[in-house]
Each structure stands twice: as C-alpha cells, then as structure tokens.
Amino acid sequence: MPETALLSVADLNAWYGESHILHGAQFEVRRGEVVTLLGRNGVGKTTTLKAIMGMVARREGSIRFDGTQLVALPSDRIARLGVAFCPEERGIFASLDVRENLLLPPVVRAGGLSLAQVFDLFPNLKERLASQGTKLSGGEQQMLAIGRILRTGARLLLLDEPTEGLAPVIVQQIGRTISRLKAEGFTILLVEQNFRFASRVADRHYVMESGRVVDMIPNSELESNLEKVHEYLGV
C-alpha cells in the first residue's frame, strides 16, 4: 500500500498576539498513522495543533490536508473538511449536559461513529447523559471530549495531551481507544508529555524544539534512541 500523506505541514510559522511561537515547523502524517509530537513544555506542540485547526491569531506557511491548503481557511471550514480537535483543557461546556456536549459538534461527513459505538468505547458516558458536562470526573470529561469528535466523520483527529492528569487505569483505556480508532482507519496526531504512553500507541514521533521539528523517530527505533529522546525531553 503506498503511504500518502494525509497531512503535510511545511515551513509553518504561527503567532499568538506579538509572540512568534512556531518558526518553520515541518512534518507529515500519513493516512491511518498515529503520530506524536514530543518535546518540552513551551516548544510549540499545542500551538502546532491549534495552527492546523486555524485557532491561532496568525499563521504562515503551508498546511495541506488531503490536497487542500488550510492556511488561509477559518477554523469552521477546516472542521468541515474533516479535521477535529480535542483541546488539552478538554473544553467541556458547563452550560450543556453530557448529551448536549456529545451531540454538539455537527456531523461533517459520513463515516463517523454512531452514538452506540461511542458508548461502546466509553460506557461511562451512557450512564451520565443528563449530568452537567463539567460535573463529570476528569477521566469522564476526557472520554466525552474524545467521544464527541468521533461522531463527526472527521478523519484526522488532533488530540492535545489526552492522558494529562488522569489515573493509570483511565490512561490505559484511552490507549486502547486510540489503538482501536487506528484500526478503524482514523489518522491521529497526538501531543503527549507521557512518553511511555506515546511509545505504546504511536507509529512515529516528531520531536519539537523552539518552534521547529528537529527530529523524527519511528516507534520501532525508539528503544535504541532512548538516550537521545531523554535528552530532548529533559527527563
């Protein structure tokens, strides 16, 4: 099977207000891959996801998704092309109950998971449909944040630190979910601080430093590069 890039980012620069965060980031994600962005705090991993999604004040360079140039599009148009974003702070709406949160993102194309399939992945959600969104536990909120973007038919999922602050058993459940989504053909770009978690789910890892991608390590070569990785991550 020829490996085609679903997402290719080249010479990406991005700004928040006056601060210039990304300085020519370059990488690609192939169809059906799970790829992580690794790096220390503040190197621009979250900004990279937000720049792809059109959520930064200003961006330049090239972001091609399935042949379409995203760099000048507003974020609602990008979402409609089939890109979905799960923010680090999860973005659960307090004024919406769990059902409303789950049904909030509109279906942008066919092929998304049905509600039954989402409940199959995250049975907890089914029992809490009438609860206020922010009354859920941290783990349940993360499941809700991931579950709601699976319904939309988006093919590229941008997940920002889905395991942050969660109990090990929940982290495992998120890990199994990501593997299962990969098996179903989703393409996933993951920002992750939890390096061990990343090594269990990802095909490849990009390492970022000061707004640039400085290295790429296939997951199979991770073991032999542990020292280098530890140096990159400062652990």
Binding site: S75, A79, F93, L104, P105, I149
Partner: protein, 294 residues
C-alpha cells in the same frame, strides 16, 4: 371592596399596569441578555431599536396601509435586519476590545437614531390605533381588563418562554450556550460562529422591535419612548443578572409588579423603587439574582 384599605379596582388596576410594564421590561431585558451573553456587548441601542419598532409599525400603517397584525410580523424582521447590518459594519470590529467600546458605540448610535427621529417627528407622540379585534375589554368583577392589555401580557409571556425554550432546550440553543462559553472551540467544531453572532444580535434587536410594535397602541409612537424605558430596563438587567435568560424574564415581570404595588402603597417611591432594589441587590449579590460571576 377593599384590601388593606385600598379599593380593589385601584389595586388590581395598578397591578395590571405593573404587569404591562413588566411585559416590556421582560421582552427588552431578554433581548439585552441574549445579546450580552454571546456578544459581550451591552447594547445601549436597545431602547432606540424598540422605538424603531413602534415607528416601523406606524410607517407600515400610514405609508403602506399595513395594519397591526402584519406589522407585528414584519417589523421585528425589518428592524432585526437593520441590527444585523449594524453588527456586521460596526460591532464586529469591537469584539477584541474592552466592553466599554461596545457600550460607547451603541450609546452613540442610540443618540444619533433618537436625534434623527426627534428632528423629524418631535416629542409629542403620535397615536397608533388599537387593532379592532382587541378593542373593548372584560369586566372581571374585581377589575376591568382591556382586551389589548391582556393580549400584550399573554404575547410577552409566550414570546419570552419560547425564547427561553429555544435557548435552553434545543440544539440551536446548545450552539448558542456553547459559543457563549468558548466561541473559538465551537467554531473549531465547524460552526460558523461569526454568522451566529450576527443572527443573535438580529434576534435580540427583533425582540426589542416586537416590543415596540406592541407598545405603540398603549404608549403612542414617540422618538423618546425607548430612552425613557431603557434606563429602567438596564436596572432590571442588573438585578436579574447579566446574561441569564430565565433571570431576565422573571425579574422583568416581578419588577413591573413591584413597581405597580409601590404606586398603590407609596406612590412617591414608584419611580425609584427599582433603583433602590438594584442598589440592594448589588450590595448583596453583585452578579445579580440569577447571574453568575464571570
């Protein structure tokens, strides 16, 4: 018949006036709450837009021969569209700035609009006839209830509750509530948030215009009718809590009633009672009775 030494006719008469005023307070503060929730703008033009609603009904009648009932449908649409143009051309440029700029712009617009109408039509007020279907009234025994007033109260309650239902219970309302919390994320889910903001402003303005049409037969059509009312409505909004939908409805009706009762028992305070309540509420619960601090 007397209650607390007050003739029932007088008591219920004032309560009715209170409910009528409350109907307008509720409709207007509801529009303000909807606009403030999503746009974060305190729409000082609201009173002028209410007045434009009354004038639109008057123009429809005198220039096109279109009567009350059609005016009730057409006016909110027409004034709402004018509102959307204002939002696109002016308000949309202010969202990244402090609240104050939106307040100043809409206040300035209100002065300009009111000034233009005042130049043309003076301040004496133009009568607008009751719709024939609602002329007359019913003697309820303890009081006389004019049909048109009953209609205003009923229509206001229905419109307020329908708006509440739409915002709190429907999918469209869920978009609106979510965008009030985090517009950037809602847009990243594929919703055209700028368009939603424009439509929301148009809807809030349409509510004001609807109130204006209903007010025309009661208060006459007057360039300053909104300026007089909007100050009280802002006090209502402060008491209810900015941005709370049910809060603005309940507070609107309740304060109308309280004002009416004050007219019966202590007429000297009837013009200030709402502001006294506002001061007390601000001291005890600065975010308003139904509001949440943000």
């Amino acid at each position: 018949m007397e209650i607390f030494g007050i003739p029932t006719q007088a008591l219920f008469g004032q309560l009715l006036i209170g409910l009528i005023n409350g109907s307008f307070y509720a409709l207007l503060s509801l529009g303000l709450a909807v606009i403030f929730g999503l746009l974060n703008i305190i729409n000082f033009t609201h009173g002028a837009q209410y007045m434009m609603g009354a004038f639109c009904a008057y123009f429809l009648l005198t220039k096109l021969g279109i009567g009350y009932w059609w005016a009730l449908a057409v006016t909110p649409l027409a004034v709402g569209i004018i509102g959307m143009v204002i939002e696109r051309l002016m308000l949309a440029r202010l969202y990244k700035l402090d609240h104050l700029y939106g307040l100043l712009l809409t206040f300035g617009l209100a002065l300009i609009i009111q000034g233009l109408f005042r130049n043309e039509y003076g301040t004496s007020g133009i009568p607008y006839a009751l719709p024939q279907e609602l002329a007359g009234g019913h003697n309820l025994g303890f009081m006389f209830l004019p049909n048109y007033r009953a209609w205003v109260i009923l229509a206001s309650i229905v419109v307020c509750l329908a708006t509440w239902f739409m915002i709190e219970k429907t999918r469209l309302g869920a978009y609106l509530r979510a965008a009030t919390e985090n517009p950037q994320l809602v847009q990243a889910f594929g919703i055209n948030v700028p368009r939603m903001i424009t439509l929301t402003y148009g809807f809030g303005v349409a509510l004001a215009a609807f109130a204006g049409v209903m007010a025309a037969p009661i208060y006459q059509v007057n360039p300053l009718m909104g300026a007089d009312l909007i100050i009280v409505v802002f006090a209502v909004v402060v008491i209810g809590g900015m941005g709370s939908i049910m809060g603005s409805i309940v507070t609107g009706f309740a304060l109308g009633l309280i004002e009416g009762l004050t007219k019966v028992f202590y007429p000297e305070a009837s013009n200030t009672v709402i502001f006294i309540i506002m001061a007390i509420v601000l001291m005890i619960k600065p975010a308003g009775l139904f509001g949440t601090q943000r």
